[in-house]
Structures are given as C-alpha cells and as structure tokens.
C-alpha cells in the first residue's frame, strides 16, 4: 500500500484569536518611557496577564484547535515575543506583527496607531483559509478598539454588515485606501458563516462593563481569565479540571485567592452569564483534584471553604438576573470606538 505524500493536520474545529499587549502580556506603553522600556525588555522580563498562559494551554489541549495571535507590536519584536510564548509553554499557529517601519518609511503615520486598518484585513485573510464550520473565540482588551474590530469582523463574515456600512466605518477610522481595498477584497473572499461565539475583552483599564453593552451579549468583558475560563466551561470549550488549573496558576503567580475568585464568579452571575450550572461540576473537579496524590490544587484547601465561598456568593444574590439580550450592533453609532484612542481623547476634550 502506498503511503500518502503528506499527512495534513486535521482541520481545526475551533480557532482562538488573541491580541498580545494588554490581553496576553501586561504591557505599558502609554508614555514614551514605557514604550522604550517595553521595547528593550527581554523575554524573561515580560509578564503575562495572570491565567492567560494557562488558559491558552488548556484550550490547546482540547485538540483540533488553532491559535492565531495578531498583535500591534512591531515586527522587530518577533524574536523576543516568540521566546516569551515558548517560555510560557504556548504553541501558536499564526503570529502576525505590525510592520511599523514600513508604515514609517511610506509616511503612513495614521497607520502607526490605527487598529482597524491593520487588524481587520489580517483577521479576514486568516478566515479565508479556515474551515467554514470552525468556531471562533476572540480575546482582546479595552485599551484600543478590540471590541469594535472583533464585533465588526464577526458581523462581516456573518453577512450582517453591508458594504455601505463597512465603507463608512473605514472612512471614520481613517483607513488608507490600499488597506480598504484589501479589507473589501478579503471580505468578499470569505465564505459566509457565523462562527464567532464569544469575544472576551480583558479589562486592563477597568472600563466599566456597561460600556460594552453596545456590542451585545457576544462581547464579555472580563476582569481576569478565571472569568473567561468559567464562560468557556459553560460554552463547552473547557472541562472543570482545566478551569481549576487556570485558577491555580492565578493563585500561584498573582496572589489571587478564594475571595478574588469567588467575587469574580459572582460578578459574572450578576451580569446574567449562564455559569451557575457549571459551579457544581467545577467544585467536583476541585474535590477530585484535591484527593489526588501531590495535587497542585493544594493551593485551594480546605475544600469546604471553597464550596462555601462559591455557593454563598450565589445565594447572596437572592435571585438570578436575566441573561443579557442579544442585540444587533449599530456600527454607525459607535464609530468613535473605531478611532485610535489618542484621537478619541482629543475629540472628547475639544
């Protein structure tokens, strides 16, 4: 029997798209000094957001997944960023960085800070080659325009946004003509599907969660990655043991404790996210893990305290708030979010 020329990997069932700065990495570049410090940091000096690396590892462990990282960091940082991801045990399939030197040399100064003209075409082009049935979960932060761009991407490929609205968005975001053409061309080539299940926004700047209500229930602002893991458990992307491992990493590396975790849990319940059903299996997983020899979950002992903390947080609410209603996004009314943060701040102050 002849062997095939090559064995292609199985097509991904799920695609996870991550931003890097302020989503995966704890980065500060709001001032020039911070920018320089960030650029000069070694891989070992860079800090991941607590729980982010564990969450990615657990999502990857499910198999048939694809990890695509799209970052606004310059291409010159590729080596150090790759080294950091390897240090954290994160395996990726795509790592796209921004060629800002090219933008600079071509005098495209708006593109240096612009997010829409950079991320949207990369997302669409990446989707062209993905299986139509592959689900997507996206991770961004509240520092720039991630909620806007990810939502627009999801609605574009689902056919919920037409070309006229897209044109107005690109106009408002001051996207350069060649990038506009690239976006429209990629959009036309993407098979129509509705694969984006969740968009997690890491609240690096602690933007009030209500701000993101405009993007509907698909966008879930999270204070930490334990919250994201809980939602992904409810959505069937993780099992309870994997969520427990994310929590443990947060306890061990960032000083999280039973209070912060149970508060995080209650915060999601109060926002109407359907995670109450996962509390019991999660606690069972913790119990099982605690009984195992040399279990890493020792950090959580004693178990009755864990159970009490979580169940009391739910009981304290008296009733369950209704889940947030899905709503169509009026992109023209949130155009301001598409502009770079500096432009928005200037506009508000004027």
């Amino acid at each position: 029997m002849a062997l095939p020329d090559r064995i292609d990997p199985r097509p991904p069932r799920r695609i996870y798209r991550w931003d890097l700065d302020k989503t995966y990495l704890q980065t500060e570049f709001d001032t020039f000094a911070q920018l320089v410090r960030t650029a000069l940091q070694k891989a070992s000096e860079k800090q991941a957001v607590p729980g982010a690396a564990a969450l990615i590892r657990e999502l990857r462990a499910q198999g048939d997944t694809r990890l695509c990282i799209i970052s606004g960091s310059p291409t010159q940082m590729r080596n150090v960023l790759e080294a950091k991801l390897k240090l954290d045990g994160v395996e990726w399939d795509e790592l796209v960085l921004k060629d800002n030197v090219r933008n600079l040399l071509r005098g495209r100064f708006r593109a240096l800070r612009g997010q829409v003209g950079y991320k949207l075409p990369v997302l669409l082009e990446s989707r062209i080659h993905a299986p139509v049935e592959a689900e997507e979960v996206l991770f961004g932060d509240d520092a720039e325009a991630d909620a806007f761009i990810y939502s627009l991407y999801a609605d574009l490929i689902a056919g919920r946004v037409d070309e006229a609205v897209l044109g107005q968005v690109l106009e408002a975001a001051q996207v350069y003509p060649d990038d506009r053409a690239r976006i429209v061309s990629a959009w036309r080539a993407v098979p129509r599907a509705d694969p984006v299940r969740r968009i997690f926004i890491h609240l690096d700047r602690l933007t009030p969660p209500a701000y993101f209500a405009r993007y509907g229930s698909r966008v879930v602002p999270v204070f930490n990655y334990f919250q994201a893991a809980l939602v992904l458990l409810a959505d069937g992307h993780l099992n309870p043991g994997q969520v427990a491992r994310v929590a443990v990493e947060m306890v061990q590396t960032a000083g999280h404790n039973l209070l912060t975790l149970s508060n995080s849990f209650q915060d999601l319940v109060r926002r109407g996210l359907p995670i109450q059903a996962v509390a019991a299996p999660l606690l069972q997983a913790l119990e099982g893990a605690l009984q195992g020899p040399g279990a890493v979950l020792q950090a959580f002992r004693p178990l009755p305290d864990i159970v009490k903390a979580f169940t009391r947080r739910v009981a304290a609410l008296g009733g369950t708030p209704p889940p947030p209603e899905p709503r169509a996004i009026d992109y023209l009314s949130v155009l301001d979010d598409a502009r770079p943060r500096t432009h928005r701040a200037r506009k508000r102050s004027s």
Partner: protein, 351 residues
Amino acid sequence: MRRSRPMPPRATTIAFDVMGSDHGPAEVVRGAAALSLEAPHIHALLVGDGHQIDQILAETRHSGERISVYHAPDFVGMHEKPSEALGRTPNASIVVATRLVADGEADAVVTAGNTGAGVLACARTFQLIPGVRRAALASVYPTRTWHGAKQDPFSLILDVGATVDATADDLVVFAVMGSAYARIISKNPHPSVALLSNGTEATKGPPRVVEAHARLAQHPGVRFVGNVEGVDIPKGTADVICCDGFVGNVCLKMLEGVAETVVELANYAYHSALRWKIGLAMLSNGLKQLKDVTDWQQYGGAPVLGFDRLFIKAHGRSKARAIANAGKVAAKAVTSDLAHAIREGLSLAGS
C-alpha cells in the same frame, strides 16, 4: 544582603450598607468601587438592593475581583425611629450587614445611614468586649492643632449619643477605647485624653466625672491630661475627649451649628457689601486650604467602640470619597486589631 519585602496588608472585607444614605445607593457604591481600585487588600461587600447596585456598578470603574454583592432590598430611612424600623424590617440592609460581620463574612461595617438604627443593629448582633458595659459612638471634630504622626486636624470625641447616662466606669472605658483608636488610626502612640467638664479642676463636674477623673489620673494605659471645657474642643487641647452621650451630642450639634452659622454669616457679608466681597475674595485661597484641611470627608467616618466587631458611621451626606475613606479607616482598624488593643487597655489597672 537579601532585603526582605514588606508583607502585604492582610486582606479585609468591609460590608457597606449601601442603602439609607442621603444620596441613595449611588455614592456608597461609587465609594466602594473607588476603594476596590485604590486598596487591593480591601474587599467590599455591598449590602443592599442587588438590582440597583448592579446597575450603578456596571457603569462605574471598579475591580470585579474585589467587590461582591449581598441582596437586601429593605432599608431604614434616615428619619425613622430605629427600634420601630428594625422591628418592621428585620432584613434591612444595616441589619444584614452587621449579621454578615458577626458571621465572619466581613470584618467591619460602614454605613452612611440612620445612626440609631446602626447602633441598635450592632447592639443586637455584636458582643460587647469584656469589661465594656456600654458602647460609645465616637466622632471627629476639626481642631486648630494637629494630632499624631498623621497630623490629623481632628480630635476624637466620645460618646456623642450611644450612651446617654454614662457612669464613671463607662467614662474610664471610653477613655481607654478612644486612646486605643487614636493610637491605631491617627498613628499617635501616646494620645492625650481629657474629660469634658465645666472646669479644668479635678473637682469640677458631676460626681461621675469627678470619680472618672480620679481613676483616669491613676490609669497606666491612658495619658490623661485632666478636664477640658467646651472651648477646648475646637482648640484641640486633647487628642481624645470623653463625655457621656447626652453632653457629647449636645456639644457636637452646637459646634456644627456654630460652623454653619459662620458660613452663613460670611455668605451674607459677601453679598451685602463690596468691601466684604473683596476681602473674602482675597482670603478665598486661605479659606479653601482651611476647608481642605478640616474636610471631614477625608476622615470618612467615626466608629462605634466597645463591640467585638467594628462599625464605622459615615456622615449621611457622604460622597464617594468619604465612603472610600471610611472603608480605609475600617480596614486599618481591623488589620491593627483595634478590639485587641481595647482589651489590652482595659486589662491594665483593672479598668
């Protein structure tokens, strides 16, 4: 040589009675939200109408990791009679908040609501520290001298209403409790303590004050400086001033009334003559500094002392900043184990 890092402060949970303040739930929730951003070791447990709290919280910058909510829709209004209101609403937010503290779910209570209801809820839920017969409601008052390492421009007056008919024993206990509080909160290692009377001589005042004077003069755990008169309160002659609740309440209300009258007179003068207007305008910078220094909002609240758990009463008109500061005061008293400091003080000289 390896330098050891300072230990992070112990995590404390402060239960905030969200309902019942003059401004409704918004300012209390915002204050707790601000606290969740400023002080990572303090967790806020917001007790009140869950729906209202969630709505305000969702639109306020906060850390969801350091805030939780306990639903208690009933509350005691500012002008309700405490005993009747608590009988009618046994699950009022202030009662639930004190119960959560008694059950160990939180370490202290902060409220900007009905003072009487708060004190009554404490009396029904908390235990008095052994040696304490009656609790004392303390208050801070701006003075012209600064107190302690923190240079607080306030002195502590107790009792201002919890125990109307204090005995000599009670006054001695108040002195010990006030002294412990000033040591911890104002970072004043040896606070001066005085009795409020109608003269500075040891023999002045009613028998209970005279007796308390004699005992405090011998007390090894209190730096007793003798009697002070009403005029000494704004002068800041002592760091802690003790009196019974009746006298304290009358004094405090009078001092507040005088302050309000001065402001009204200045207002009147400002509008009545141009030269007054110019004069006050020239003084405005200094007046603003004076206002900043003596701004009660920076102090947050005052404690009810004598219970095994801490209760901080913030002003009914407290805005978010005052609420956040009240939370900080509560957390500081908890981490410094104020109850233990009071117990120690009471054990000295068998007071």
